[in-house]
């Protein structure tokens, strides 16, 4: 069986500085795969390349068996790949509802969109209560819910989440990770980038540890969670 997403020897550079130096991994349908690693490892660069915002200098990306590296960014969500970016990037001066609807920008099934908007409000009731409010007025955690809700509005086959728990209070962080777990239970395929390695690995089927542009360690979530070097470097143990 071919994987939903296959990344092969991917290399990405900013000018002459290579930020991703030849990484390979894959995501199978129904899996949660996580990329962990400290600041500057190249995780965000990888996700931005997968969604077409950056162009690779080498390697291959295949999504559902089709090459993705030449597809312009605005055509990628249509193929079933949604990206909730690092730092949330909600549209601050638009309403919460308009933000959600933009997630379904390319969809034509109006009834389905209405249903999914309602569904997002059921998943995140706070968004429903404030639907007419400018999204910039939401707290960080609420903005994260909106960013995830917006990404789900495209009904993606693969959902990419870049540090959904970044900068959140422990309670909010828990809530967001619970949502990720819930999405997994519903069968959503997820590529999760996290600095909160503990939470990410506990959820993930597979994990990859990145360091300065390379994958240095891969394994199942449980393996990595119990790996000594991972525990030392990422879980704050000695």
């Amino acid at each position: 069986m071919t994987a939903l997403l296959e990344v092969e020897d991917l290399r990405v550079a900013y000018g002459r500085i290579e930020a991703v130096k030849g990484i390979s991994f894959s995501v199978e349908a129904g899996q949660v795969v996580t990329l962990i690693g400290i600041n500057g490892a190249g995780k965000t660069t990888t996700l931005r390349t997968l969604s077409g915002l950056l162009k690779p200098v080498g390697g291959h990306i295949r999504f559902k068996g089709k090459p993705l590296d030449k597809v312009p960014a605005h055509k990628i969500v249509e193929l079933g790949l949604a990206h909730s970016p690092e730092g949330r990037h909600i549209f601050p001066r638009m309403t919460i509802e308009d933000n959600l609807r933009l997630g379904a920008y390319l969809r034509k099934d109006h009834e389905g969109i209405e249903k999914d908007v309602q569904h997002a409000y059921e998943r995140f009731p706070i968004l429903g209560e404030r639907r007419k409010q400018a999204a910039g007025t939401l707290s960080g955690g609420e903005q994260q819910m909106l960013a995830m809700g917006r990404a789900l509005m495209s009904r993606p086959e693969l959902l990419m989440l870049d540090e959904p728990s970044m900068g959140l209070s422990p309670i909010m962080m828990q809530k967001i990770m619970d949502t990720v777990a819930e999405l997994k239970a519903q069968g959503t395929t997820i590529l999760l980038v996290e600095q909160n390695a503990q939470a990410a690995l506990a959820l993930a089927d597979h994990g990859h540890v990145m360091e300065v542009g390379r994958i240095v360690l891969s394994g199942t979530g449980q393996d990595l969670l119990h790996d000594e070097s991972v525990r030392k470097a990422y879980l704050g143990e000695d």
């Binding site: 970016p85 990037h89 638009m94 933009l102 917006r150």
Partner: protein
């Protein structure tokens, strides 16, 4: 002081013309952070486009009331074509260049467009007469409204209502807001931001063409340099209203128009002020 109501009305008329042009600066700036210095020339070519329809396309002696809609359409077609072509060939290749490059290019485009009209438009080395409405003004109390201004009184508010509805209520309008607020994330939503940029240029150009026609009607003539001063004032209006904000652009235009109209009338009455140039102050 009996001139005050008249001067206010004149100022509002002038200001709505500035506002119509300012919308183009502000929309383009809002999306690609470019001050399109050539926008004054988009306004100028719109006026010439309308003149072309009247002078060279319509039969001699066509009533201006009948000609006007066709002149507006002609002006818009020319303005939009010029704007879209300059965007495609002058600005788009510089999309990821340092900010200064497109800015200098815009100044170059501005001068080029002026020179092209000067060199190739028949009779454009001097002012060219623009068709005029006959008849005298309408009196409303102390205020007289010229027939030429009726066009602006109708067109400016209609244009603004159209724009607000477009931006707030349509799918493309929302995509435009998203692109202005966060272009990369807009692309993640599936928005073709290059297309949105073209649409912003086109809408700004259509508005500039309306302003160009009303400028011709008000002043009875058009010339290849008309975009310079009008563009500068409209740019000021856009900044005044908070650049990037379309309602602000209109409001900034109105404020500037009223200020200019009142200053031109009253500053010369302030004792001593006439030494500083009197009426020339209106172009400050």
């Amino acid at each position: 002081m009996h001139e005050l109501p008249q001067q206010l009305v004149n100022g509002l008329l002038l200001g709505s013309m500035y506002g119509l042009i300012a919308v183009g600066y502000t929309m383009v700036y809002g999306i690609i952070k470019l001050i399109n210095f050539a926008h004054g020339e988009i306004f100028m070519t719109g006026a010439f486009g309308a003149l072309t329809i009247y002078t060279y396309i319509l039969p001699n002696g066509t009533s201006l009331w009948i000609a006007l809609p066709l002149m507006i359409i002609g002006g818009m077609i020319v303005s939009i074509a010029v704007a879209v072509i300059t965007e495609r060939f002058a600005y788009r290749p510089l999309r990821n260049a340092p900010r200064l490059a497109p800015l200098i290019t815009a100044i170059g485009v501005s001068l080029t467009l002026q020179q092209l009209v000067w060199a190739f438009y028949p009779g454009a080395k001097k002012e060219r007469l623009f068709p005029q409405f006959g008849g005298s003004g309408f009196h409303l109390g102390a205020v007289t409204i010229q027939p030429a201004d009726i066009f602006l009184i109708v067109a400016a508010p209609l244009s603004m209502v159209f724009l607000a509805t477009f931006v707030m209520r349509t799918r493309t309008g929302r995509a435009m807001q998203a692109t202005a607020q966060d272009p990369d994330t807009a692309r993640l939503m599936g928005i073709d931001t290059e297309r949105i940029i073209v649409i912003a240029f086109a809408i700004g150009a259509a508005f500039a063409a309306i302003a160009g026609v009303s400028h011709g009607l008000r002043y009875g003539q058009v010339d290849f340099r008309m975009g310079f001063i009008a563009g500068l004032k409209a740019f000021t209006a856009a900044v005044l209203g908070g650049i990037g904000n379309i309602y602000g652009a209109m409001l900034g235009g109105l404020v500037l128009g009223v200020a200019e109209s009142l200053a031109a009338t009253y500053i010369q009455h302030i004792p001593g002020m006439s030494h500083f140039g009197g009426g020339a102050w209106q172009d400050v």
